[in-house]
Symmetry: C2
Subunit: 383 residues, 2 copies
């Protein structure tokens, strides 16, 4: 039995347990997950006796290529995809049909209720997303490929970056290299932050040049028509280290090597805590404990725990953020086959930030890094 | 009075006319339109006595910079943005609050109803989108800038493209050049189609090289942190014209020049029909009439009207597709200040396609092209 069939069977179990005899999947990413179709603007309908992909003429050929065994309705120009889907639901005799509560808009649901007044629509939230949290081997391979391509693009970037390049130049260059390495595009707009700008976890690129700082934070990933990767490296930079360029905290001794070592120790503590059955929040706590225990003779007031201002990680797959959540308020429990980021970071205003982010497969007895880039502190060898 | 204030006053009129004393704007693009804030994940609340931007710590600095006069709530990590917004709504005493029906998800609305059980939430559909259809002068200038940058990037692309470049190579190169010309990124993934692949209006890039066809269709635009442009040019290519490479329809005389002339005539007919007060569908019809009347001695069976398989155009602005719709089933009426694409095209399977798309400002007595690239048939001068 193939993976698509397994996914549909699992969804079928959800419907049965909720007394539903139909389901209308409207989120493109979930349509892809259940059918293999990689286009958009199309719906997947589970009906009492069969299933249907509802699409339009733009995607006719693609549907045939990607889903040869799937019944499909290619709507004409005289109706919307929602109207075509409602027609199919009406014909099918379905009485209680699930919809994706966190995806469908209020307007779409109101239109459906008018188009199919005899059907009861029921909000089913996160059912497909919960299935997607545990990857099958084919998905793991696709994520591994997305990691490889991102890493190859990052190496091209490192080999070509120049002191005069601005954050914006570097974002554009990395985009080009990740594509050149084989990606459709980056998985999200890369975050590239020079010097103290690394203190903003979601920095948007400015005209600050690489040469204006003593460290560089790069958060990036690849999208390989579907599966995504998500990696962060923070590098010492040979620039911006002259006494006149060092910021105040660097001058009083906030030291890249010492702080990097703590972030890496936090990541290692998290990796050591990962195994099936463990609560996601306990993995987050394992990293947080390392920051809480870190002490520095030179700057005794620095409490690193206060500077790790986001969750430890998240699932990746067809989306760049998906289940499970690895953070203090998460109720998720880790399972073998999940693929998550582990990304501890510290952000010190006026000094900068360090984040180390890797992609991790949870295995039957622990975890395995999918990322292969070194996690040791490294110096940018910029030309 | 500044533009933001005008936009908010217009929204205030909508609320008054619907007996609402509040509005929660959740779509990022509409938050940007009403506040000038260009980040995401933030909401804008119109309350009985004031307005609030609800955001989180990631955007604290950006909110201060971009919206210095706007009251803002920066939520803590212990709640979601929706929870913080609901809290503000509860405190404000609002009784009937509008939400964006075509934007808010069913799940978000259900959560709001639980968090603010005394408030009646009312679906208001397309109100802000209708305002956005008519641009103020500042917006027109931003779209004009997005056109300029896209055109500059396209010229760089034309100056550097090579016979061996694949559609994928060309998409990646154009992305880089549009950024190099000053854009944050392209306005949408560019469509670049070689030879007969131009027959697919939404072709995704393949490994087909430029040298494999006698024409090249390029549909692209620029995103300048907000406002967008959308342009298509179809060029003769010096490659793929040898007898062995010509496709069957090219061999029997389907001639690029003659067909291009009809598409250009259709576009000119549409441009001549545009003025305030005209129905959008009549402009679509003006273009369609040119196709219906086109006759060719050599291939009398070719009915071009059957090969123009999409609407004539759409509004552009903060989104790449927005109001008004210019198509046969549109109820929209043109107004001065609207900015729209006019993009007639023909798609002949096995032969290819021709589309000419320009960005057009509707003026008090007609229209003005924002695009400055020549619309005359041109040959790619590839190195």
């Amino acid at each position: 039995m193939n993976y698509l069939q397994q996914r549909r069977n699992a969804l079928g179990q959800t419907l049965k347990s909720r007394d539903l005899d139909g389901f209308l999947v409207t989120a493109a990413v979930n349509v892809t997950y259940l059918t293999g179709f990689t286009g958009d603007s199309s719906y997947y309908a589970v009906l009492p006796k069969n299933t249907l992909l509802v699409s339009d003429t733009r995607f006719e050929e693609q549907v045939r290529e990607e889903c040869p065994d799937q019944d499909a309705v290619i709507r004409g120009h005289n109706k919307t995809t929602l109207e075509a889907a409602a027609e199919a639901l009406n014909k099918s005799g379905a009485k209680a049909v699930g919809v994706e509560g966190s995806r469908i808009t209020l307007g779409e649901l109101e239109a459906l209720r008018q188009l199919a007044p005899k059907i009861t629509f029921v909000s089913v939230d996160g059912a497909i997303e919960a299935q997607r949290a545990v990857k099958d081997p084919g998905e793991v391979e696709k994520i591994r490929d997305a990691v490889k391509v991102a890493e190859r693009g990052f190496k091209m970037f490192l080999a070509t970056v120049r002191e005069a390049d601005t954050e914006k130049d570097m974002v554009d260059a990395l985009e080009g290299y990740v594509r050149r390495a084989g990606a459709k595009c980056t998985a999200f707009p890369p975050i590239i932050a020079v010097g103290e700008r690394g203190a903003l976890p979601h920095a948007t690129p400015t005209n600050k040049p690489l040469g204006d700082g003593a460290k560089l934070l790069v958060d990036f990933g690849a999208d390989l028509v579907g599966y995504k990767s998500d990696i962060t490296r923070t590098l010492r930079s040979p620039f911006g280290t002259s006494p006149s360029r060092r910021n105040k905290l660097e001058r009083i001794g906030y030291d890249f090597e010492k702080l990097y070592a703590v972030v890496l120790a936090a990541q290692n503590a998290a990796l050591a805590a990962i195994r099936p059955g463990v609560k996601a929040k306990d993995v987050d706590a394992a990293a947080r404990k390392v920051f809480a225990n870190a002490r520095f003779d030179k700057y005794p007031d620095l409490k690193l725990a206060d500077h790790f201002t986001h969750g430890l990680g998240h699932g990746i797959g067809l989306e760049i953020h998906e289940a499970p959540k690895i953070r203090a308020n998460s109720e998720d429990v880790l399972e073998s086959g999940m693929v998550v980021t582990i990304e501890p970071g510290i952000y010190i205003p006026g000094w900068g930030g360090i984040r180390i982010e890797d992609d991790v497969l949870i295995t039957h007895d622990g975890c395995k890094l999918l990322t292969t880039l070194s996690r040791e502190p490294a110096t940018l060898a910029a030309g």
